[in-house]
Protein backbone atom coordinates (compact mmCIF):
# COMPACT_ATOMS: atom_id res chain seq x y z
CA UNK A 1 0.00 0.00 0.00
CA UNK A 2 2.81 2.34 0.92
CA UNK A 3 4.67 1.23 -2.17
CA UNK A 4 1.64 2.23 -4.26
CA UNK A 5 1.59 5.63 -2.58
CA UNK A 6 5.24 6.19 -3.43
CA UNK A 7 4.81 5.22 -7.06
CA UNK A 8 1.78 7.46 -7.24
CA UNK A 9 3.69 10.39 -5.79
CA UNK A 10 6.55 9.87 -8.24
CA UNK A 11 4.08 9.80 -11.13
CA UNK A 12 2.46 13.01 -9.91
CA UNK A 13 5.87 14.66 -9.72
CA UNK A 14 6.69 13.56 -13.25
CA UNK A 15 3.36 14.79 -14.56
CA UNK A 16 3.91 18.08 -12.81
CA UNK A 17 7.33 18.51 -14.41
CA UNK A 18 5.85 17.86 -17.86
CA UNK A 19 3.00 20.30 -17.31
CA UNK A 20 5.47 22.89 -16.11
CA UNK A 21 7.68 22.47 -19.17
CA UNK A 22 4.68 22.83 -21.44
CA UNK A 23 3.66 25.96 -19.56
CA UNK A 24 7.16 27.39 -19.92
CA UNK A 25 7.05 27.04 -23.67
CA UNK A 26 3.71 28.78 -23.86
CA UNK A 27 4.82 31.93 -22.05
CA UNK A 28 3.95 35.19 -23.81
CA UNK A 29 6.22 38.20 -24.05
CA UNK A 30 6.67 39.80 -20.65
CA UNK A 31 4.85 43.07 -20.13
CA UNK A 32 7.28 44.80 -17.81
CA UNK A 33 10.97 45.03 -18.66
CA UNK A 34 12.87 45.73 -15.47
CA UNK A 35 16.26 45.38 -17.15
CA UNK A 36 15.64 48.65 -18.96
CA UNK A 37 14.56 50.40 -15.78
CA UNK A 38 17.65 49.17 -13.97
CA UNK A 39 19.88 50.40 -16.80
CA UNK A 40 18.16 53.77 -16.77
CA UNK A 41 18.69 54.23 -13.03
CA UNK A 42 22.27 52.93 -12.85
CA UNK A 43 23.94 56.36 -12.67
CA UNK A 44 21.93 57.16 -9.53
CA UNK A 45 22.71 53.87 -7.86
CA UNK A 46 26.28 54.50 -6.79
CA UNK A 47 27.81 51.29 -8.17
CA UNK A 48 28.69 50.17 -11.66
CA UNK A 49 27.49 46.58 -11.75
CA UNK A 50 23.73 46.15 -12.24
CA UNK A 51 23.37 43.09 -10.01
CA UNK A 52 25.11 44.85 -7.13
CA UNK A 53 22.88 47.85 -7.73
CA UNK A 54 19.76 45.69 -7.51
CA UNK A 55 21.05 43.81 -4.46
CA UNK A 56 22.13 46.76 -2.39
CA UNK A 57 20.13 49.66 -3.69
CA UNK A 58 16.95 48.95 -5.66
CA UNK A 59 16.05 45.82 -3.71
CA UNK A 60 18.29 46.38 -0.73
CA UNK A 61 15.41 45.66 1.63
CA UNK A 62 15.42 42.01 0.52
CA UNK A 63 19.14 41.86 1.24
CA UNK A 64 18.58 43.29 4.72
CA UNK A 65 16.04 40.59 5.52
CA UNK A 66 18.17 37.84 4.05
CA UNK A 67 21.06 38.72 6.35
CA UNK A 68 18.56 38.50 9.18
CA UNK A 69 17.66 34.99 7.97
CA UNK A 70 21.31 33.95 7.99
CA UNK A 71 21.94 35.38 11.45
CA UNK A 72 18.80 33.63 12.63
CA UNK A 73 20.07 30.29 11.31
CA UNK A 74 23.19 30.82 13.38
CA UNK A 75 21.12 31.63 16.46
CA UNK A 76 19.10 28.47 15.98
CA UNK A 77 22.33 26.49 15.59
CA UNK A 78 23.63 27.94 18.85
CA UNK A 79 20.35 27.12 20.56
CA UNK A 80 20.42 23.49 19.48
CA UNK A 81 24.06 22.53 19.80
CA UNK A 82 25.14 21.71 23.34
CA UNK A 83 27.72 23.98 24.89
CA UNK A 84 30.48 21.43 24.53
CA UNK A 85 29.85 20.97 20.85
CA UNK A 86 29.10 17.79 18.94
CA UNK A 87 31.62 14.98 18.57
CA UNK A 88 33.82 15.32 15.54
CA UNK A 89 36.82 13.54 14.12
CA UNK A 90 40.06 15.45 14.10
CA UNK A 91 42.68 15.34 11.42
CA UNK A 92 45.15 14.74 14.22
CA UNK A 93 48.54 15.92 13.22
CA UNK A 94 48.48 15.36 9.49
CA UNK A 95 51.41 17.61 8.64
CA UNK A 96 50.88 17.86 4.90
CA UNK A 97 47.26 18.90 5.26
CA UNK A 98 48.09 21.36 7.98
CA UNK A 99 50.89 22.96 6.02
CA UNK A 100 48.81 23.26 2.91
CA UNK A 101 45.98 24.77 4.90
CA UNK A 102 48.28 27.29 6.50
CA UNK A 103 49.70 28.29 3.13
CA UNK A 104 46.27 28.50 1.59
CA UNK A 105 44.75 30.64 4.34
CA UNK A 106 46.30 34.01 3.43
CA UNK A 107 45.64 33.34 -0.25
CA UNK A 108 42.01 32.70 0.59
CA UNK A 109 41.78 35.97 2.47
CA UNK A 110 43.31 37.72 -0.52
CA UNK A 111 40.79 36.12 -2.85
CA UNK A 112 38.00 37.28 -0.58
CA UNK A 113 39.24 40.85 -0.62
CA UNK A 114 39.46 40.73 -4.39
CA UNK A 115 35.92 39.39 -4.72
CA UNK A 116 34.64 42.15 -2.47
CA UNK A 117 36.40 44.87 -4.43
CA UNK A 118 35.47 43.36 -7.80
CA UNK A 119 31.81 43.34 -6.91
CA UNK A 120 31.46 46.95 -7.90
CA UNK A 121 32.42 46.27 -11.52
CA UNK A 122 31.83 42.56 -12.23
CA UNK A 123 30.25 39.56 -10.52
CA UNK A 124 31.36 39.49 -6.90
CA UNK A 125 30.49 41.30 -3.72
CA UNK A 126 29.94 40.74 -0.04
CA UNK A 127 28.26 37.33 -0.18
CA UNK A 128 30.82 35.73 -2.40
CA UNK A 129 33.70 37.19 -0.39
CA UNK A 130 32.13 36.12 2.90
CA UNK A 131 31.59 32.60 1.61
CA UNK A 132 35.23 32.32 0.55
CA UNK A 133 36.40 33.50 3.97
CA UNK A 134 34.15 30.95 5.65
CA UNK A 135 35.50 28.22 3.39
CA UNK A 136 38.99 29.14 4.53
CA UNK A 137 37.95 28.86 8.16
CA UNK A 138 36.35 25.47 7.55
CA UNK A 139 39.49 24.27 5.81
CA UNK A 140 41.61 25.31 8.78
CA UNK A 141 39.22 23.55 11.15
CA UNK A 142 39.19 20.33 9.16
CA UNK A 143 42.97 20.37 9.05
CA UNK A 144 43.05 20.74 12.79
CA UNK A 145 44.85 24.08 12.68
CA UNK A 146 42.15 26.02 14.56
CA UNK A 147 39.93 24.62 17.32
CA UNK A 148 36.18 24.52 17.01
CA UNK A 149 34.09 27.28 18.50
CA UNK A 150 32.15 26.87 21.70
CA UNK A 151 29.90 29.52 23.19
CA UNK A 152 30.62 32.83 21.44
CA UNK A 153 32.15 35.43 23.70
CA UNK A 154 31.13 39.05 23.52
CA UNK A 155 33.69 39.91 20.85
CA UNK A 156 32.70 37.05 18.58
CA UNK A 157 29.05 37.97 19.05
CA UNK A 158 29.89 41.54 18.08
CA UNK A 159 31.58 40.28 14.95
CA UNK A 160 28.69 37.99 14.07
CA UNK A 161 26.02 40.62 14.47
CA UNK A 162 28.15 43.60 13.48
CA UNK A 163 27.59 43.53 9.74
CA UNK A 164 23.84 43.33 10.14
CA UNK A 165 23.85 46.12 12.70
CA UNK A 166 25.89 48.36 10.39
CA UNK A 167 23.43 47.68 7.57
CA UNK A 168 20.52 48.42 9.92
CA UNK A 169 22.22 51.57 11.20
CA UNK A 170 22.73 52.90 7.69
CA UNK A 171 19.20 51.95 6.66
CA UNK A 172 17.65 53.50 9.74
CA UNK A 173 19.96 56.48 9.66
CA UNK A 174 18.78 57.26 6.17
CA UNK A 175 15.23 57.30 7.56
CA UNK A 176 16.03 60.63 9.16
CA UNK A 177 16.51 62.37 5.84
CA UNK A 178 14.25 60.33 3.61
CA UNK A 179 12.94 56.81 3.34
CA UNK A 180 14.37 53.51 4.46
CA UNK A 181 17.48 52.71 2.42
CA UNK A 182 17.11 55.84 0.32
CA UNK A 183 20.76 56.67 -0.32
CA UNK A 184 21.58 60.30 -1.13
CA UNK A 185 23.01 60.27 -4.65
CA UNK A 186 26.48 61.53 -3.85
CA UNK A 187 27.01 59.28 -0.84
CA UNK A 188 25.49 56.11 -2.28
CA UNK A 189 28.75 54.57 -3.44
CA UNK A 190 30.55 55.14 -0.15
CA UNK A 191 27.67 53.85 1.96
CA UNK A 192 27.31 50.74 -0.17
CA UNK A 193 31.03 50.06 0.14
CA UNK A 194 30.82 50.46 3.91
CA UNK A 195 27.89 48.08 4.10
CA UNK A 196 29.56 45.53 1.84
CA UNK A 197 32.83 45.58 3.78
CA UNK A 198 31.21 45.03 7.17
CA UNK A 199 28.87 42.42 5.68
CA UNK A 200 31.82 40.50 4.23
CA UNK A 201 33.43 40.27 7.63
CA UNK A 202 30.24 39.28 9.44
CA UNK A 203 29.08 36.88 6.75
CA UNK A 204 32.44 35.13 6.87
CA UNK A 205 32.04 34.71 10.61
CA UNK A 206 28.39 33.60 10.41
CA UNK A 207 28.96 31.07 7.64
CA UNK A 208 32.07 29.78 9.37
CA UNK A 209 30.16 29.62 12.63
CA UNK A 210 27.43 27.48 11.05
CA UNK A 211 30.12 24.83 10.75
CA UNK A 212 32.54 25.62 13.53
CA UNK A 213 29.98 25.78 16.32
CA UNK A 214 29.25 22.13 15.74
CA UNK A 215 32.69 21.06 16.73
CA UNK A 216 33.61 22.49 20.10
CA UNK A 217 36.58 21.45 22.17
CA UNK A 218 36.92 17.80 22.91
CA UNK A 219 37.71 18.37 26.59
Amino acid sequence: MRRLGRVGMALVAGLFALTLIVALFELPEPVVRLADEVAANMPASGVEHPVTAVLLNFRGYDTLLEIAVLLLALLATLAVVPEAGLPMTEADGEPVLQTVAQIAAPLIVLAAFYLLWAGAHRPGGAFQAGAVLAAGAVLLRLAGVVPGWVRPGSRLRAGLAGGFLVFLAVAAGLLVGGRLLEYPEDAAGVLILLIEASLTFSLGLILAGLFLFHSGDRT
Binding site: A13, A35, V38, T77, F127
Partner: protein, 100 residues
Protein backbone atom coordinates in the same frame (compact mmCIF):
# COMPACT_ATOMS: atom_id res chain seq x y z
CA UNK B 1 15.09 26.73 -28.05
CA UNK B 2 17.31 29.30 -26.40
CA UNK B 3 19.71 28.52 -23.59
CA UNK B 4 17.32 30.22 -21.17
CA UNK B 5 14.59 27.73 -22.02
CA UNK B 6 16.98 24.79 -21.59
CA UNK B 7 17.82 26.04 -18.10
CA UNK B 8 14.19 26.57 -17.27
CA UNK B 9 13.15 23.11 -18.45
CA UNK B 10 16.00 21.53 -16.52
CA UNK B 11 14.95 23.55 -13.48
CA UNK B 12 11.43 22.20 -13.77
CA UNK B 13 12.67 18.61 -13.77
CA UNK B 14 15.04 19.26 -10.87
CA UNK B 15 12.27 20.89 -8.85
CA UNK B 16 9.97 17.92 -9.33
CA UNK B 17 12.75 15.51 -8.42
CA UNK B 18 13.60 17.55 -5.35
CA UNK B 19 10.04 17.67 -4.02
CA UNK B 20 9.58 13.97 -4.67
CA UNK B 21 12.84 13.37 -2.82
CA UNK B 22 11.91 15.36 0.27
CA UNK B 23 8.56 13.64 0.47
CA UNK B 24 9.51 10.07 -0.42
CA UNK B 25 13.05 9.55 0.85
CA UNK B 26 13.74 8.41 4.39
CA UNK B 27 17.32 9.26 5.26
CA UNK B 28 17.60 12.82 6.60
CA UNK B 29 20.73 13.76 4.66
CA UNK B 30 19.16 12.62 1.41
CA UNK B 31 16.07 14.67 2.16
CA UNK B 32 18.22 17.73 2.81
CA UNK B 33 20.01 17.19 -0.49
CA UNK B 34 16.66 16.81 -2.20
CA UNK B 35 15.57 20.13 -0.72
CA UNK B 36 18.67 21.76 -2.23
CA UNK B 37 17.83 20.18 -5.56
CA UNK B 38 14.35 21.64 -5.32
CA UNK B 39 15.71 25.08 -4.54
CA UNK B 40 18.21 24.96 -7.38
CA UNK B 41 15.42 23.93 -9.72
CA UNK B 42 13.33 26.93 -8.73
CA UNK B 43 16.30 29.26 -9.22
CA UNK B 44 16.99 27.85 -12.68
CA UNK B 45 13.36 28.38 -13.66
CA UNK B 46 13.52 31.97 -12.39
CA UNK B 47 16.68 32.91 -14.25
CA UNK B 48 15.96 30.80 -17.32
CA UNK B 49 12.48 32.12 -18.05
CA UNK B 50 13.44 35.72 -17.39
CA UNK B 51 16.27 35.46 -19.91
CA UNK B 52 14.55 33.19 -22.40
CA UNK B 53 14.81 35.68 -25.25
CA UNK B 54 18.54 35.98 -24.76
CA UNK B 55 18.48 39.28 -22.89
CA UNK B 56 20.29 39.82 -19.60
CA UNK B 57 18.12 40.79 -16.63
CA UNK B 58 19.87 41.63 -13.34
CA UNK B 59 16.73 41.50 -11.17
CA UNK B 60 16.16 37.72 -11.23
CA UNK B 61 19.90 37.21 -10.81
CA UNK B 62 19.84 39.28 -7.64
CA UNK B 63 16.75 37.39 -6.49
CA UNK B 64 18.52 34.09 -7.00
CA UNK B 65 21.51 35.33 -5.00
CA UNK B 66 19.14 36.15 -2.16
CA UNK B 67 17.47 32.77 -2.57
CA UNK B 68 20.78 30.93 -2.41
CA UNK B 69 21.68 32.62 0.86
CA UNK B 70 18.27 31.73 2.31
CA UNK B 71 18.67 28.14 1.12
CA UNK B 72 22.10 27.96 2.74
CA UNK B 73 20.66 29.18 6.02
CA UNK B 74 17.85 26.63 5.89
CA UNK B 75 20.22 23.80 4.91
CA UNK B 76 22.59 24.68 7.74
CA UNK B 77 19.74 24.61 10.25
CA UNK B 78 18.48 21.29 8.89
CA UNK B 79 21.93 19.73 9.11
CA UNK B 80 22.42 20.99 12.65
CA UNK B 81 19.11 19.50 13.72
CA UNK B 82 19.86 16.22 11.97
CA UNK B 83 23.30 15.93 13.53
CA UNK B 84 22.00 16.68 17.00
CA UNK B 85 19.18 14.17 16.55
CA UNK B 86 21.73 11.57 15.50
CA UNK B 87 23.97 12.33 18.48
CA UNK B 88 21.08 12.10 20.92
CA UNK B 89 19.31 9.07 19.54
CA UNK B 90 21.27 7.45 16.75
CA UNK B 91 18.37 8.02 14.36
CA UNK B 92 18.94 9.08 10.78
CA UNK B 93 15.29 9.00 9.79
CA UNK B 94 12.08 10.56 10.99
CA UNK B 95 9.86 7.69 11.94
CA UNK B 96 6.38 7.34 13.32
CA UNK B 97 3.53 9.40 11.93
CA UNK B 98 3.05 9.69 8.19
CA UNK B 99 5.98 11.57 6.76
CA UNK B 100 4.90 13.81 3.94
Amino acid sequence: MTSGMVFAATGAVLFAMGVAGVVLLDHLMRRILAFNLMGSGAFLVLVGTAQRDGSVDPVPQAMVLTGIVVAVAATALAITLARRLYTLSGRTELSGTDDD
